[in-house]
């Protein structure tokens, strides 16, 4: 954290997006997290992704639960909507937000503590409902806010700063999402924005539940030699299986891709993502094989990253529930609240 706030300086080198905004317009308040926290890098990547997608900040709702990760929505997109909810209950608020406004971009920021312990049930049901949202798990293997106890994502053999050994198996959100039927499953690393920003852009554009598990080292409690979630360990065992290019609508695909090695996917709004195999053994078209691959690599201690599975064809919550295209706040009162006679009509159906 810092005492002075980041000054806004127009230094002549600032790029502008299609809305005429600069990256500074996508920033939020000053972070109060520890200096060097991976979460701050993710915050910067989120700013960059929304900036590059030309999404106006006020068309975004950012939601979170409890934990270091859940503090971060205060640090990006200062001009957007936000809700800092109860521990593990962010998916419920996200469901409501999305239901009330189909046009808003919903981004939920959670952590391994928030999503994999107290909020595990909510997390699973959010995937099951295929809520149209971006769901980030800022994963550092410890409860940083309560001084560094192991979380449910800690690996077997990993040690705490003071030497305690973890002997319980971890919950891997990626494996869980693949088996739960999530329609967009990815893993990134806070220390690699080149990979993370396109992942974020694709997740934001994905029509349905977009999960990114982001390894985000806790610089204070889990960045030591015996940690499996430190900067150094993550870099050493970092295994990008798939490369992703995000191509905005109406832009030509210029790069040549080998057939069978690359898969272009059309997104809902006309933009495309092109997945490219970095590891020939990986098959991104099959959920079962993707799961096997991730599991096998995890056994070998490797950290598989990239967009690991995507399915644009599954209906999202809005489609299934035939929600209103117009945000509820913009519906005229008569339609929003048809009155007691309409209620009676509905009740008749149950008699």
């Amino acid at each position: 954290m810092s005492y002075i706030s980041k000054p806004k300086i127009d230094h002549g080198g600032l790029r502008k997006n299609k809305l005429g905004l600069t990256i500074q317009d996508y920033e939020g308040g000053m972070s109060t997290l520890c200096a060097g926290c991976g979460h701050d890098s993710i915050t910067a990547a989120i700013c960059q992704a929304f900036f590059e997608l030309d999404i106006p900040p006020h068309r975004v709702a950012k939601l979170s639960g409890i934990g270091c990760s859940s503090k971060t929505p205060a640090y990006f997109l200062g001009q957007s909507h936000g809700f800092n909810s109860v521990h593990g209950r962010m998916p419920s608020v996200a469901t409501g937000t999305s239901a009330a406004n189909r046009q808003i971009n919903v981004i939920g920021v959670s952590g391994d503590g928030d999503s994999l312990s107290i909020g595990l049930g909510q997390f699973a049901h959010a995937m099951r409902r295929n809520i149209n949202m971006t769901y980030l798990i800022e994963n550092n293997g410890v409860y940083g806010l309560t001084k560094g106890q192991f979380s449910a994502s800690a690996d077997i053999g990993s040690k705490l700063k003071k030497g305690e050994l973890n002997e319980q198996p971890p919950i891997d959100p990626v494996q869980m999402a693949l088996s739960q039927g999530a329609t967009f499953v990815a893993r990134g690393f806070s220390g690699d924005k080149k990979q993370l920003v396109p992942l974020l852009k694709a997740a934001i554009k994905h029509n349905g539940f977009g999960l990114i598990d982001i390894l985000s080292p806790c610089v204070t409690f889990n960045d030591h030699e015996d940690s499996t979630k430190s900067y150094a360990h993550t870099r050493e065992f970092f295994h990008p299986a798939v490369h992703l290019d995000y191509i905005p609508p109406a832009k030509e695909i210029k790069t040549a891709y080998d057939q069978g090695e690359a898969m272009p996917i059309e997104m809902h709004d006309g933009s495309r993502v092109v997945l490219r195999k970095l590891d020939k053994g990986y098959n991104f078209e099959n959920r079962g094989q993707a799961l096997d691959y991730v599991r096998a690599k995890h056994r070998d201690g490797e950290i598989v990253t990239g967009l690991l599975y995507i399915d644009e064809s599954e209906p999202d919550m809005h489609t299934i529930n035939a929600t209103s295209d117009t945000p509820l706040s913009e519906l005229e009162f008569k339609r929003l609240c048809p009155g007691s006679s309409a209620l009676k009509e509905i009740q008749k159906r149950f008699i």
Partner: protein, 605 residues
């Protein structure tokens, strides 16, 4: 790219743009900090160590520091460095006890200095405390040279000038006024151990066009200003034309207004982009309703019955290329401008009719003495030149620096040491960290714009030639202006071994000047920079390979505002803010063989 070695090529000195831009390397950020702390006397003494005349230069310096100032790159205008210098001077206590003194025991060496201008005074300032006997010969009845004769007193009050010159003269300089040297050969016979020529560029350029010598109302600018300064001229006609558009022209037009002129035009041959005058001097003149007429080239003086009636000018038209360079010139007509007086301010030259040409002191094809650019020695050993007399007209701050360097040479010459083996400049660094989020400097960015100098009311200022126009900053203005300084001397020092590549510094940098990228050559690096490189002349820092990935930390020095946020956000202290202190050697340091360190010692003294 090769990893940057910050210990080489005066890297950290170059980062401090103002100090790098100042010929005398004045420690600008430090004296601004002292002003902010209310330590005006300390700020004055720190200034004096390098530029000798803080009160004078705080008013009339050519300010090479200000166009260089980093502030001008992150917003519209640079810090008002020059004005702040005056603040230090105006508010100082009596500092006479802190001035250098000549020792009682002299070293037996006698130095002759010709011309009592800024260059000679600067040499005397450095040599007197070392025990030299300095004799200054001055043709006029008062010392000061150009500072007195060419700079009008409404810009530089006589009191300020006298006070600062006396600090040097009172060390015991033998000042011989009204003593013009007519023969260098004769002077050499007097047996001085070394001679310094600081006679300036006293010859105003003439304009030899028809009618030039047919009227007494055509004046040469610097001679006319000198006559005004010595009260030989106290009036001028109503309509005045000034030919030329340099800083002397600005002084001429403003002086005319104070001697009774009511319609003053400055006639320029070329468009505004080609003006030699400093922007602020042009602004000051235009504020006083001087009209600047562009694209008019003088053709002839119109004189009827021996009376100057006006001048005919050729109207010029220029074609320029993309870079603004003139590619074609055309005369498109003529125009008559009526006037009562004309002042020629089209440049000046140095002139040495009094130096015999058979002494072994060589002159080049333009009749300018051949002088070594580092030692300031002429081809005749023991004879040194400095100021405008050495390399033609520059300005006061250059003359002062010439004086410092010539003093070193003279000292070495008198002690049979090789002149070109001089102490190098150095940089000392010390961490500014006071706590996790605290630095020993004001690191917050203040977005205030440059303060405007308050001045005497337009009507009032013309009532007397001696009324100083600029009033000096008010307390409120000082408080704001000092905070505009970006503290460029607080360096961002990087320790690659400590970096864990967490990106924290890159994310927090308010000007996006940091990047971590593979070191695959300059082109690849520049392509990957967070912000495009806007100024190729500014330094690019490239670190040694980082521990975890072998990539390099890159810093584009161009836009850094030295806020220290990178160092605050760094979890491993791989970035540190360190105060850099430039160590500039002077003659006294040469005497002490560099043992007693200069600036810090002087400050204490």
């Amino acid at each position: 790219m090769k990893p940057t070695k910050v210990s080489e090529n005066e890297y950290f000195h170059q980062v401090v743009d103002c100090q790098w831009g100042c010929p005398a390397h004045t420690d600008v950020p430090e004296y601004i900090r002292l002003i902010a702390q209310g330590e005006f006397s300390d700020a004055y003494m720190l200034n004096r160590a390098s530029n000798i005349f803080p009160g004078i230069l705080g008013r009339v310096c050519d300010r090479p520091c200000e166009p260089a100032c980093r502030r001008g790159r992150v917003e519209e205008k640079p810090v008002a460095i020059c004005r702040l210098k005056r603040v230090a001077s105006d508010n100082r206590d009596d500092i006479t006890s802190r001035l250098p003194k000549a020792p009682e025991k002299k070293n037996g060496k006698r130095i002759a200095l010709i011309g009592a201008g800024c260059a000679s005074l600067s040499v005397a300032n450095d040599l007197m405390p070392l025990g030299y006997d300095c004799t200054i010969f001055e043709g006029l009845e008062k010392p000061g040279g150009l500072m007195r004769t060419n700079i009008p007193s409404f810009r530089l009050p006589e009191k300020v000038l006298d006070e600062e010159m006396n600090y040097i003269i009172d060390m015991g300089v033998d000042l011989r006024l009204g003593t013009r040297i007519d023969s260098f050969k004769e002077l050499m016979k007097e047996g001085y151990d070394a001679i310094f020529v600081g006679t300036g560029a006293p010859k105003g350029k003439d304009l030899k066009i028809p009618g030039r010598y047919d009227s007494d109302n055509i004046h040469i600018g610097i001679e006319w200003l000198e006559s005004v300064a010595f009260d030989h001229i106290d009036k001028i006609g109503k309509k005045v034309l000034i030919i030329g558009v340099g800083n002397t022209a600005m002084d001429c037009c403003r002086t005319s207004l104070r001697l009774g002129a009511s319609d003053v035009k400055v006639m320029a041959r070329k468009p505004r982009d080609f003006f030699k005058a400093s922007d602020w001097e042009l602004e000051d003149a235009e504020e006083e309703k001087v009209e600047i007429v562009v694209n008019h080239s003088p053709k002839e003086f119109v004189i009827k019955n021996g009376v100057l009636k006006g001048m005919i000018f050729e109207k010029m038209q220029y074609e320029t290329d993309e870079k603004g360079k003139i590619t074609n010139t055309e005369v498109v007509g003529e125009e008559f401008f009526p006037c009562d007086d004309v002042v020629l301010a089209i440049g000046q030259d140095n002139a040495f009719p009094w130096i015999e040409r058979d002494l072994g002191l060589d002159f080049d094809q333009w009749d300018v003495p051949i002088v070594d650019e580092n030692t300031f020695q002429s081809t005749l050993p023991g004879v040194f030149f400095g100021g405008d007399s050495a390399f033609g007209p520059k300005n006061i701050i250059w003359a002062v620096e010439h004086g410092h360097q010539a003093a070193i040479s003279i000292h070495k010459y008198c002690h049979d040491e090789p002149l070109d083996e001089r102490l190098p400049r150095g940089v000392n660094l010390s961490s500014a960290k006071m706590g996790i989020h605290e630095w020993s400097y004001s690191n917050d960015f203040d977005a205030s714009s440059r303060r405007l100098m308050p001045s005497v009311d337009l009507k009032e200022r013309f009532s007397n030639l001696d009324i100083e126009v600029e009033l000096g900053f008010t307390v409120d203005q000082v408080v704001t202006e000092v905070e505009r300084c970006l503290n460029c001397d607080l360096q961002t020092v990087f320790f690659p071994d400590l970096c864990i590549e967490c990106d924290a510094c890159i994310d927090i940098c308010p000007v996006d000047c940091l990047t971590i990228t593979p070191n695959e050559g300059q082109e690849a690096i520049e392509k990957n920079l967070t912000t495009p490189r806007l100024d190729q002349d500014q330094l690019l820092f490239v670190s040694e390979p980082l521990k975890q990935t072998g990539r390099a930390m890159i810093k584009d020095e161009n836009l850094c505002v030295h806020c220290g946020l990178c160092a605050e956000r760094c979890p491993t202290a791989a970035w540190d803010m360190q105060k850099s202190n430039l160590d500039v050697p002077y003659a006294i340091d040469e005497m002490n063989n560099g043992k007693a360190n200069c600036q810090s010692k002087r400050k204490a003294g």
